[in-house]
């Protein structure tokens, strides 16, 4: 399989939030080809039915168009694909391991017992012995520590010189380094040996990641300085610039650039599959997060109710103790990382997630899990609560394997969706001494997991769009990414500018080119313009139809938005008159009471009316005439 094909698959996996095709299809890597074939077929026939479903259209079309490629990756050339996922796993694991050691060293001591535990951890992460030693050496050097006892058992580690890797001088400017990186990158990309090429690219990426960041570069330079001052020997007595293993049968040029490989190439393909990040954590059913007093009523005392929760009419919210702010609709927020890693000795673990509604208005929604060992205690969100606890029972004893992952998804009716991945392993307890490292690792694992496909560093950019009025559709580069008052878009490749387009019925579309920056969150407020002035005079001889109570109800459901338009203190009786054209769109809106409303207030009222959907009108046009008591501000 070539690089383009693997990238294609990775891009797809990023859109569905999975780390590998095996995880996507929910099959273990070691499954029989026939089993894998069966799940691919099953999913493919699912895709056939989802082509017209806007929610799954992109996913379904990929499965249909790239069926051959997926089969190639999983059944025809699985070795290639596994090597690819293993190398990206390995990359992540090295990073995790680094953080882990840093955590251990923060204790300020590195005794043989601790070192043994660290080496065990390295083994569990599937890292090669030499690599583990190298990482330990580097971490020790960085922390300015040495081992408390002799280190003769440690094999001499290999060393990376990032400048050598880029074939640049340590005195180079950032521009020169970037130039050098690009030159080397193009050279590595064009190597005939694809496996070697991938490794070279990994190494270059690593070097560039460190050197592009002035702070990290300074740290690295200092470390490098220490080594050269100790006469080319590192504090632990090993030689400084030991070349890494030289790949067989390469050209002189590639041999010369060999040393920067941070992983011995032969071990790459033989790394054991690592679907989860195991870590020594005491049996731990909780995550570092505040657990608020649960507003969820106890399950046993829940009053009997029919499964279709009666769809009550949305009542106008009482605004008396709220700031009079412009309404944005509900917004889902969660106090938890995208990945929850649990290691437990218990058969059943209770886990709590805090779900908040940061916006305004009711937030009905539901919680679903894709595996039955992840039991959701109450699958519906309480629409009226601003903060609530979603409780999850993790049945570790019902997991198919010792380690497994499952996805928990919150779906709100206003269109937001958040997926939390649970990575659970059944374990016995481990020494408490390592907890510090583990906690750091935990935080890091969550960070890495959100950007898993894109190498060891998280570089995602998040764009939050606050839309007035709530949009019917928001496109990024032509693909629908969401709707509603708040839309969040996570760009995994933030270098290229993205084209956003916001569409709402009755409002002019908004197009914009946005440049994101890796690792940054941007918030953007967009106010759509009305497509017309909403001035409309019915044609001569047209007949008006008085719209009945349903129309008044439509207006009533927008009471909060209407109240937000007016600078109300206390309660005010508002009198609206509107004309509705035959397709159910408000055309002409008058505010008779309060008469002292400013032109701005009236404009705001018109916008709110334009977002209302009246049913189709039987006559030429309809008339709405309604009185509404609005409350807002403090009396």
């Amino acid at each position: 399989m070539d690089r383009r094909e693997l990238e294609e698959l990775d891009r797809f996996l990023a859109t569905v939030g999975q780390t590998s095709l095996y995880a996507y299809y929910g099959v273990p890597e070691e499954s029989d080809t026939s089993d894998v074939e069966a799940v691919i077929k099953k999913r493919r026939s699912w895709a056939q039915g989802q082509q017209s479903n806007p929610k799954f259209k992109v996913e379904a079309l990929f499965l249909i168009k790239q069926n051959a490629l997926i089969r190639k990756a999983l059944t025809e050339e699985p070795e290639d694909y596994r090597a690819h996922t293993a190398s990206s796993h390995a990359h992540r694991n090295v990073e995790s391991f680094r953080v882990y050691i840093r955590g251990i060293l923060s204790e300020g001591e590195f005794s043989p017992t601790v070192e043994k535990a660290v080496r065990n951890q390295g083994r569990e992460l599937g890292l090669a012995e030499a690599l583990v030693s190298q990482q330990i050496g580097e971490a020790l050097a960085a922390a300015g520590l040495s081992r408390t006892t002799d280190d003769e058992t440690t094999p001499p580690p290999s060393m990376i010189d990032f400048y050598e890797a880029l074939q640049a001088e340590p005195t180079s400017t950032l521009e020169q380094l970037e130039q050098a990186y690009r030159v080397r990158y193009r050279w590595a990309r064009n190597l005939n040996d694809l496996a070697l090429s991938a490794e070279m690219l990994n190494g270059l990426d690593q070097a560039w990641t460190v050197l592009r960041d002035p702070a990290r570069r300074a740290r690295y330079d200092a470390q490098r300085e220490r080594w050269s001052q100790s006469g080319g020997r590192r504090p632990d007595g090993s030689p400084g610039y030991t070349p890494g293993p030289t790949p067989q049968g390469q050209t002189a040029e590639s041999v010369a650039s060999g040393p920067f490989l941070d992983m011995p190439p032969p071990s790459l393909a033989h790394l054991p599959p690592m679907p989860v990040l195991p870590m020594p954590v005491p049996p731990m059913p909780v995550l570092p997060m505040p657990v608020l007093p649960a507003p969820v009523p106890p399950q046993s005392a829940a009053p009997p109710r029919p499964p279709p929760p009666p769809r009550s009419e949305p009542k106008p919210l009482d605004l008396s103790d709220l700031e009079p702010v412009r309404l944005r609709g509900p917004k889902l927020a969660m106090d938890v990382a995208d990945t929850v890693v649990l290691r437990t000795g218990e058969p059943k673990v209770r886990h709590r997630l805090i779900v908040r509604n940061q916006g305004d208005g009711r937030m009905p929604g539901r919680v679903v899990a894709d595996h039955d060992w992840l039991e959701i205690v109450k699958p519906q969100l309480d629409p009226n609560l601003l903060t609530q606890v979603v409780e999850v029972l993790v049945h570790a004893d019902r997991m198919p394997r010792r380690t497994a992952s499952a996805a928990l998804t919150l779906i709100t009716e206003h269109g937001e969706r958040r997926t939390i991945t649970f990575k659970v392993s059944r374990r016995s307890a481990v020494p408490k001494a390592l907890a510090a490292g583990a906690l750091l690792l935990l935080g890091f694992a969550a960070l890495v997991a959100s950007g898993v496909i894109h190498g060891p560093h998280t570089n995602d950019a998040v764009l939050t769009l606050l839309l007035d009025p709530p949009a019917d559709q928001v496109f990024v580069n032509g693909l629908v990414v969401g709707n509603g008052g708040t839309v969040e878009y996570r760009a995994t490749n933030p270098d290229a500018p993205i084209r956003i387009r916001v569409e709402a019925d009755g409002f002019g579309a908004h197009d914009e080119l946005v440049q994101l920056e890796g690792g940054r969150s941007i918030e953007r407020r967009i106010q759509l313009e009305l497509t017309d002035a909403m001035d409309w005079t019915p044609p001569a001889g047209a007949t008006a139809v008085a719209l009945d109570r349903t129309a008044a109800k439509v207006v009533q459901t927008h009471a909060t938005a209407l109240a937000a338009c007016l600078p109300i203190r206390g309660a005010v009786d508002a009198h609206f008159k509107a004309m509705v054209d035959p397709t159910g769109i408000a055309r002409n809106v008058e505010l008779l009471e309060p008469a002292d409303a400013s032109p701005d207030d009236r404009r705001c009222i018109r916008r709110v009316f334009r977002t209302m959907r009246f049913g189709a009108v039987a006559g030429d046009y309809g008339e709405v005439d309604t009185l509404l008591r609005l409350t807002g501000g403090s009396p």
């Binding site: 493919r44 026939s45 082509q51 079309l61 069926n67 009997p304 109710r305 029919p306 679903v368």
Partner: protein, 535 residues
């Protein structure tokens, strides 16, 4: 369908549409449009509010006035809330499709010299009920009072005349059009034509081949001159048209040339057929892949397929026939223009269904009696007694099948929502399925059944097409049984009964399709379409 006048067979395609009727001699004939072409591009250009032009003229406007041109509207049929705004007016996909149908209808009326009220419109086999409903509505908006909908592969099979061969045969209809691709396996058992399995790709078609060729040519130009003709919309479009014509030439000739002029540079890029086939090999691979899947769904092998029918203009590419020959070991059936065969089949099907006295029917019937081993239908049943039920004929029966899986949302033991299948796809119609369920909570006084369409286990994966609420019950304990009955009738109507078994209280609903206009909306749209000018 009123028993007067002729019935048009209309192939309403994603990129091209065609219209046909059965003439007085019982022969299906394509009716050319006002410009004399046998197919009409399904492209609409609005040059003023409510004034539009359909066909080639509209295609040309893509260059000049792209924002007022509507293409590929078939892909949006039945999509709820999809609107296109043109000159300050919002049009749904039904209305836009009805403009195309009106153009076809007007041109046909002019050619025939009298008004036409009836039509049979074809839809892909994978269309769901909302999409079918939207198509029917487009027909009604265009002014057809008698309408029926049949599947494209069924029409193609009828056009190819397979029904004359008799005996048990299995057909594979390979339809590669301008923008869509689907494969259907059908069975002709005795005198019944039945769909067994279908699969496809809603976004694969001749356009993908054109794009490949265009990129191939443009890349060569970039290599030579360092400027990219794709950078400028107008050159891009011109080049696209040249590539389209080159592709058509390559179907009959081994070599074609594509002249490219851009920013003062000019060159002529020659393309050999082998080269073209090489750069589009993977697209064909996708088609082969889908064929394999359909056969697997139908639980059949290539050896069991008796006839292969190719429809859709893109099957003119020799590579398609070659690939099908290689896969199946038999030559595809030839003889009918693949662009027209769906429309011809629709016209024929219309006569077979609704005009049992027509000459075509007699021709067909005598052939059938001569050539099949089946005992013919009793003499008394036809033609004096036309069978009014859609799809039933004294001789040939087009067995209607449920085009999509139908089910409902229920709670499982953990009270999570699950979709339960009641009628699987391709169940022959009419059919009736029952399911037993129980109340999930104590003290329930109402229950809601959400009717779903589509394959899937999670409510997100399927479309809810309607609901039945059984309420005003006395409080029921948990576990009290309820029965749900789905009755799918021949005219594609679903009746749902929900019954509380103990009290015998029940509710019935006929499913109202989503995406269809409400009756007031329909009348408004009807007036608008009738008032609009379509050229």
């Amino acid at each position: 369908m009123p028993d007067d006048g002729i019935i048009l067979g209309i192939d309403l395609g994603t990129t091209f549409s065609a219209v046909a009727y059965v003439d007085a001699f019982g022969k299906p004939v394509v009716i050319p449009n006002g410009e004399g072409q046998r197919t009409t591009a399904s492209v609409i250009h609005f040059y003023e509010r409510d004034e539009c032009v359909v066909g080639d003229e509209a295609v040309k406007m893509v260059l000049v006035d792209a924002s007022n041109v509507v293409r590929f509207i078939k892909r949006h049929m039945g999509e709820e809330g999809h609107t296109t705004e043109l000159f300050g007016r919002r049009y749904g996909p039904q209305e836009l499709s009805s403009f195309i149908l009106r153009k076809l209808k007007d041109d046909a009326e002019e050619a025939l010299g009298h008004p036409v009220k009836n039509a049979v419109i074809t839809v892909p086999a994978y269309f769901n009920s909302a999409q079918r409903g939207a198509t029917a509505e487009a027909g009604a908006l265009a002014g057809f009072s008698g309408l029926s909908i049949i599947n494209e592969p069924t029409a193609a099979a009828i056009a190819y005349g397979v029904e004359r061969k008799g005996g048990d045969r299995h057909l594979l209809v390979f339809d590669l059009g301008g923008g869509t691709f689907d494969v259907t396996v059908m069975e002709l058992r005795g005198t019944t034509l039945r769909t067994i399995a279908t699969d496809g790709n809603a976004e694969l078609g001749g356009k993908d081949w054109d794009d490949r060729l265009l990129n191939h040519v443009a890349d060569q130009f970039v290599q030579k001159f360092g400027v990219d003709p794709r950078d400028e919309a107008q050159t891009h479009q011109e080049l696209y048209e040249r590539c389209l014509h080159a592709k058509i030439s390559l179907s009959t000739k081994p070599r074609a040339v594509i002249p490219v002029n851009f920013r003062g540079h000019r060159t002529i890029v020659p393309v050999m057929r082998e080269e073209f086939e090489d750069i589009t090999k993977d697209l064909l691979g996708q088609c082969a892949d889908t064929c394999g899947l359909v056969l697997e769904k139908a639980k059949m092998s290539w050896a069991e397929i008796d006839d292969i029918l190719l429809t859709g203009g893109s099957t003119r590419m020799p590579a398609v026939a070659e690939m099908m020959g290689r896969l199946s070991g038999k030559a595809p059936v030839v003889g009918i223009n693949p662009d027209e065969c769906v429309a011809l089949g629709a016209a024929l099907a219309a006569v077979l269904r609704h005009r049992p006295q027509h000459l075509a029917f007699h021709n067909w019937r005598s052939n059938m009696l001569n050539e099949t081993n089946e005992p013919g239908p009793p003499e008394t049943s036809a033609p004096a007694e036309p069978n009014p039920g859609a799809g039933t004929l004294p001789g040939l029966r087009i067995a209607d099948v449920a085009s999509h899986t139908l089910g409902m949302v229920a709670l499982d033991v953990q009270l999570n929502q699950r979709v339960v299948t009641l009628i699987p796809e391709f169940t022959p119609l009419p059919c009736e399925r029952r399911g037993r369920f129980a109340y999930a909570y104590d003290g329930m006084t109402a229950v809601r059944v959400e009717v779903t369409e589509g394959v899937g286990t999670h409510p997100d994966e399927v479309t809810v097409i309607g609901e039945v609420i059984l309420d005003n019950l006395p409080p029921r304990p948990r576990g009290t049984p309820i029965e749900v009955v789905y009755r799918y009738t021949m005219n594609q109507l679903l009746e749902v009964d929900v019954t509380d078994i103990e009290t015998r209280l029940s509710r019935r609903a006929r499913i109202v399709l989503k995406g269809a206009l409400s009756s007031e909306g329909f009348d408004a749209a009807r007036t608008r379409v009738a008032a609009a000018t379509v050229h």
